[in-house]
Symmetry: none
Subunit: 324 residues, 2 copies
């Protein structure tokens, strides 16, 4: 993980910008919101200062135009200084503004052949169902692509390795993330691992105390700051277990106690599409990757287990029209 990101943002959570209309939005140009860049901006925005957010949003809003602007011009256009622009570029992961500009040109080119503008718009109360379906599908697809692109493979590799050799796996998640945790647990159980999902914070902590070195604790939280899952993870961490965090905020408090951090990309949210809903897709992809990775590494054990659990379920299906 990058030092500067972590250190710079770790103690920043002052702002609670969320809320549907929190974005001032300096008149973003036509279309263009669904790029990988836009996702990165959304993910990192909370750890940005106000003026940096202005720059980031302007850039994400119209990459094509911004790629033609010089630092000075962009600074002027966003009402900030060159220094702030450069700082923003750094935070977005580029060595400097020059490189951001180059990347911007790339995004702009990709947008040329991009999706129709209608599906990138926000969901409105009076949208017909056809639009709702199209927009939801588009956004979830975007989230998947963004998450896959941003996933840190080395972290994933380490997480998979820890899980594959774990004596026992505990998974913490509350609310919507609890379901993701159960999904992972179900699948790990299926291939012969000892895994438990906890959504009750007290029970989670109680169980976390039992963990030892060689065990794995995995916390799932979109915000990265959910006390109820951070606390058991901390206990597990202190107990010597290997800890993994699946979060949309790699700079959140949960990262403090995580040996490995897996970042999920954040989709745009709105009133009709809360964060809990949009984050789920990315979390599930990460969880699936973990599962497949573990299944690969424990294939000798997993293969018969997968077949066995399949057979066991067969009689639960009616024989009637069956032709699987």
């Amino acid at each position: 993980m990058t030092k500067e990101t972590f250190g710079g943002a770790a103690d920043r959570d002052r702002d609670a910008p969320v809320g549907p209309a929190a974005v001032p939005g300096p008149a973003t140009a036509p279309g263009a919101g669904g790029t990988a860049l836009a996702a990165k901006v959304r993910t990192l925005a909370p750890s940005m200062t106000r003026s940096m957010q202005r720059v980031a949003e302007t850039v994400a809003g119209d990459p094509a135009a911004c790629s033609r602007l010089t630092v000075t011009a962009l600074a002027q256009r966003t009402g900030t200084s060159e220094a702030t622009v450069v700082r923003t570029a750094r935070l977005l992961g580029y060595p400097g503004y020059r490189d951001l500009r180059l990347a911007l040109a790339g995004f702009a080119a990709q947008l040329e052949a991009g999706a129709p503008a209608s599906v990138t718009a926000d969901i409105a109360v009076d949208d017909p169902l056809a639009d709702v379906v199209a927009k939801l599908a588009h956004d979830e697809r975007q989230t998947l692509a963004d998450t896959a692109a941003a996933l840190d493979l080395s972290q994933l590799e380490l997480a998979v390795g820890a899980l594959a050799t774990a004596r026992r796996v505990d998974v913490y998640g509350v609310g919507a993330s609890a379901l993701v945790g159960q999904d992972l647990t179900q699948k790990l159980l299926r291939i012969g691992l000892v895994a438990h999902a906890h959504s009750d914070p007290h029970l989670a902590v109680t169980n976390a105390v039992q963990l030892r070195q060689g065990d794995v604790a995995l916390a799932i939280t979109h915000s990265g700051n959910t006390v109820d899952v951070i606390e058991p993870l901390r206990v597990a961490f202190d107990a010597g277990a290997t800890t993994i965090a699946v979060t949309g905020r790699p700079d959140g408090a949960v990262a403090q106690y995580a040996d490995h951090v897996l970042t999920t990309s954040t989709a745009r949210e709105s009133e009709l599409r809360p964060a809990a809903m949009s984050s789920r897709t990315g979390q599930l992809l990460v969880v699936d990757c973990l599962f497949v990775g573990v299944a690969q590494r424990t294939y000798e054990r997993a293969a018969p287990a997968l077949s066995a659990s399949y057979e066991a379920l067969a009689h639960r299906h009616t024989a009637r029209t069956t032709r699987l």
Copy 2:
């Protein structure tokens, strides 16, 4: 500043009989494909000097790499000088090298967007994690697109209508589908509906008996033949409730007792990617569509409820260094 430079370049047409080159227009003309750059280089090559051709060919041969080079680096790499590089950029229709570089990044991005191809293959035991991530993401994206395309909007409309006016909603699902059911239930509860998820078949039947006309029962089953969810749906159906089925097999047994059938598309499965895993994505999309549809139709009630549940969760997030 561009005036005199254009004047300088204009008097160059000395030995260029290739007439059509007259005002090829700004380089960023729409519809520029990946080969557009190469074609332009070929067209203009005859009017180039020897060293300029070297530059042009290098640039056309590997736009991605060249976009990362400075004017000095490119000059060195082509064995020429900076001045020549700039002259070449001008001849290709750009104001200067900076802009050529930007365009190069664009071309590179477009080439990048081309099909990776390998992602459509099945997941193998020895696939590296990078491939696993790419393939999983690709397949889930495919499932989403397929499901969205195949979704019967009239059935969806009716299902949403039934849910929005329901006195009570029961959701049945077992195994992986149970989590989808819980997801839907969580969200419906959030906007003020009375919803319950049942994964215990006996309890499900027990509750189904209580349903009346105006209530809604919703069954989730990928196979369409899962006894444990068909049975409670049948009971609900007989009790007069409106019944909805979310299934990958619209011809399955579950459809017999469903007033409305919502079909989810099935992704290819394999040993490392069981049906339960691939079906989940489509089911969740359908469930999200149902939720948003209901939220739209009950907006007066849903809007404050959404805000309220958001507020209620706020204190569950650490403000700063808070310990439990």
